[in-house]
Symmetry: C2
Subunit: 435 residues, 2 copies
């Protein structure tokens, strides 16, 4: 059987899974690629570190990238180093030494995509990155290949398993944010510094990549409006449930007449709809295409073996020649003009959930609804709960309002104005309600 | 931009959708294939027939297949004629005249796959067929490409939208089987002769194709044990719901130590699990791979545009060269030995739902459970309903039993024996309960 020599840079969580699949299960690549993907070199930061996957003696483990870049027999490299540097430099060196590269590093692509893809094109090289978004769910291949006859109309997804795990634990186990975060860290879902995950930044990076692929948008991830789950209050999970909703961190890309709607925010999602039922660290994506209709994917968005599954599939696609074709035809992050512009966030319509803490006295509801009315915001329902607390001698109550369709801008302005009412306490909450 | 000439044989439901996507939305194929797919010829049975999609004057509509087979400029043909003949002959003529072929005809592949694929390989041609299974859900590409690093462990799916629609209508609208079937026909989901759909044959054909791809099984669809929904009784939908289940026609392929478990039968599926929530004419598939874990797909399994979406994606993959690679590497229906044998159906374990109509008198339950016990079948729960009918002066009651894990064979034997008890009326029901 034909042999294609490959190498790994990085053998941490994902890299060890990739090594295991390539080395212990070579029969699979043989069957699907009609050839063996032979691991020739593995390069890591510290070759002396203890590892849970023991490489066979045939593979050299070193910290010397030139063993790969100087070996012309190695055609394909899995780049499994996280972060921006030295990940970016490693990527460029690999491309410049003639390697096709498979990566799982979404941060690198979201930040340096244009530079890296341009360089790859100049050099006639290809990059595959299905593992970078939604781990085991092959959303990149599905969008760039399987739905190519469609105009994609919208993408909505739960793209960050850590956030979903934390919110699920808060919702189902009654844990506080801090407890749920700690559990996520113990289970290996969240890193020591969980900021990227819980702030919505990681989901925004993935959304930027998907928006690029699906819509030809050229949006930097940091320009995508985002709200994380780090400020989520258990009370809102409770009130949402009363209204028959769950709260989920949802990434949205939706084509509108005015451009592309893009954001990552906690949303109220109707119980019983597919996205509401996504539990624990699972990811899910709902794609609507004008021909195919609505397609829903659900699976493990991270973790060693699901991510390795995606990396190895990409390596096989690279070895047999499918990825280079896709890479040439899809023109990702090319210098060609963006096909769509991000639309004005403040003009975006949605229904909203609003929770206020107000003084329990006559006239307060009228004041609040007066401000909403002034901003053309209709109210769909109001739930005023029993007085629960005393605040400086004044009993205060939570007031939960569901609006009819209103714009981001109008609700923001109304909230600012409501915040100034003497009868309203600080920490008002406003969340989108998913259609 | 480069041009690839293509043709269509068949312009019925699916063909008209394909023509529309290729002709009215040529920009998409331009964007994803880097070239135009130019429709040169359309061949149908009756060119004079009125059609809802009007072809532009540049396209010749005829009933003369030789206009395609004799035109060497046409590289790719969408074969969208149903049934076995003349579909088989058309397929062979297309391959023999040097065309790569995209088809949506699962019956043709399930019946004549070995002959057709062997011929294509001999001739160096390729066949793509993602539209043949689950319409808009790209399950073929996902299994043969995206999950190639996995040993697939199981596939479970709702692969026949017509059956699912009928059962959903019976369950949710309280319609009888006959009423629901009529509505399915009015909506265009079921054909005048619905036998293939409602007998489970269509789902078995799709399962045979998937089992081939995912497990290297070489099983003829007619050797897959199947039960349709055509004998489903509304009473069982009702009792299932009482037990917190819905009934769904489920196709299963599962790797066991003893071989490959394969069947298409109505199953009790726990409410709240993804497959139970598949409504109307939707399809869904749950794939478990040893690396990727469980991945769930949900989408439209048929209909003009979802199916056309899959056909055109395949035509693009063919034009850019991806499909020929996959076709060569996947070795579908090749002469190589089957990698797995179908396992003994009678030895397969499952929990079962059993409904009997029994005489309402002391000792009957003991007789029935005695027979089950003799066959080593443990009972998980029994629901004995109120007497509902009189039968020859004797009041009779429905008796619903949920078993613990038991084998197909033991439950079949027990049912036969129970059927002979004088206290038990005919028409006993036995259904699998999905894990
Ligand atoms: N973990 C997941 O579930 C998951 C899911 C999707 C995507 N990803 C992405 O996959 C990538 C890898 O993630 P991971 O979880 O496997 O990370 P990890 O466990 O931290 O492993 C990183 C690897 O990179 C190596 N490395 C660091 N600096 C290096 C250098 N200068 N030269 C060579 N090797 C270097 C490390 O070497 P040592 O082993 O010697 O320290 C380690 O083997 C990241 O971009 C991540 O975002 C991860
Ligand atoms: N409909 C769906 O939702 C769906 C979904 C998945 C897969 N499929 C599969 O797709 C295939 C096509 O389905 P369909 O619903 O489009 O069928 P259809 O509406 O019955 O169309 C069949 C087409 O084949 C043409 N045809 C028949 N005999 C021919 C011959 N000897 N030479 C040339 N053309 C001939 C017919 O010509 P005239 O127009 O002149 O009669 C018609 O255009 C079938 O295999 C079906 O199983 C369909």
């Amino acid at each position: 059987m034909q042999v294609t020599k490959v190498a790994l840079v990085g053998m941490g969580t994902v890299g060890a899974g990739v090594a295991r699949l390539l080395i212990d299960h070579g029969d699979r690549t043989g069957r699907h690629a009609g050839r063996i993907l032979w691991v020739e070199e593995v390069v890591v930061a510290d070759p002396k570190k203890a590892r849970d996957y023991a490489l066979p003696k045939t593979v050299t483990l070193s910290d010397d990238l030139s063993r790969i870049t100087n070996n012309p027999e190695i055609k394909i490299v899995a780049h499994l180093v996280g972060g921006l540097e030295p990940a970016r430099t490693i990527m460029l060196k690999l491309l410049e030494s003639g390697k096709d590269v498979v990566t799982a590093n979404k941060a690198l692509l979201a930040e340096h995509g244009p530079e890296i893809f341009d360089r790859a094109r100049e050099l006639g090289r290809a990059i595959a990155f299905d593992a970078a978004v939604a781990g085991g769910i092959p959303i990149i291949t599905n969008i760039s290949q399987c739905f190519s006859a469609n105009q994609i109309l919208s993408l909505r997804g739960i793209l960050n398993g850590t956030s979903n795990f934390i919110v699920s634990q808060m919702d189902e186990q009654g844990e506080t944010y801090a407890e749920a975060l700690k559990e996520a860290q113990q289970r290996g879902y969240a890193e020591a510094d969980p900021t990227m995950d819980v702030s919505g930044a990681d989901a925004a990076q993935k959304l930027a990549i998907l928006a690029h692929l699906a819509f030809g948008a050229q949006v930097h991830w940091n320009d995508i409006p985002r709200v994380g789950i780090d400020t989520l209050d258990a009370a809102d999970l409770h009130y949402a449930r009363e209204l028959n909703y769950r709260i989920k961190l949802i990434a949205v890309a939706k084509l509108r007449d005015s451009g592309l709607e893009l954001h990552v925010t906690p949303n109220l999602v109707k119980i019983g709809t597919p996205l509401a039922e996504v539990r624990l660290a699972y990811n899910a994506i709902s794609v609507v295409g004008d021909a195919v209709g609505s397609i829903f994917f659900h699976g493990l968005g991270a973790g060693q073996m699901p991510t390795a599954s995606a990396v190895v599939a990409d390596m096989i696609d690279m070895a047999v020649g499918r990825t280079p074709i896709t890479f040439r035809t899809v023109e990702l992050w090319s210098k060609s003009e963006a096909r769509v512009q991000q639309c004005d966030h403040s003009a975006l319509p949605s229904r909203f959930y609003i929770r206020l803490t107000v003084e329990d006295r006559p006239g307060v509801l009228a004041e609040v609804t007066g401000v909403l009315g002034k901003h053309q915001i209709s109210i769909a329902s109001v739930i005023q709960h029993e007085p629960s607390e005393e605040d400086g001698g004044q009993s205060i109550v939570p007031l939960v309002i569901m609006t009819a369709q209103a714009t981001e801008g109008a609700t923001q302005k109304a909230m600012a104005e409501i915040g100034k009412l003497t009868s309203v306490r600080p920490n008002a909450v406003r969340m989108r309600v998913l259609d």
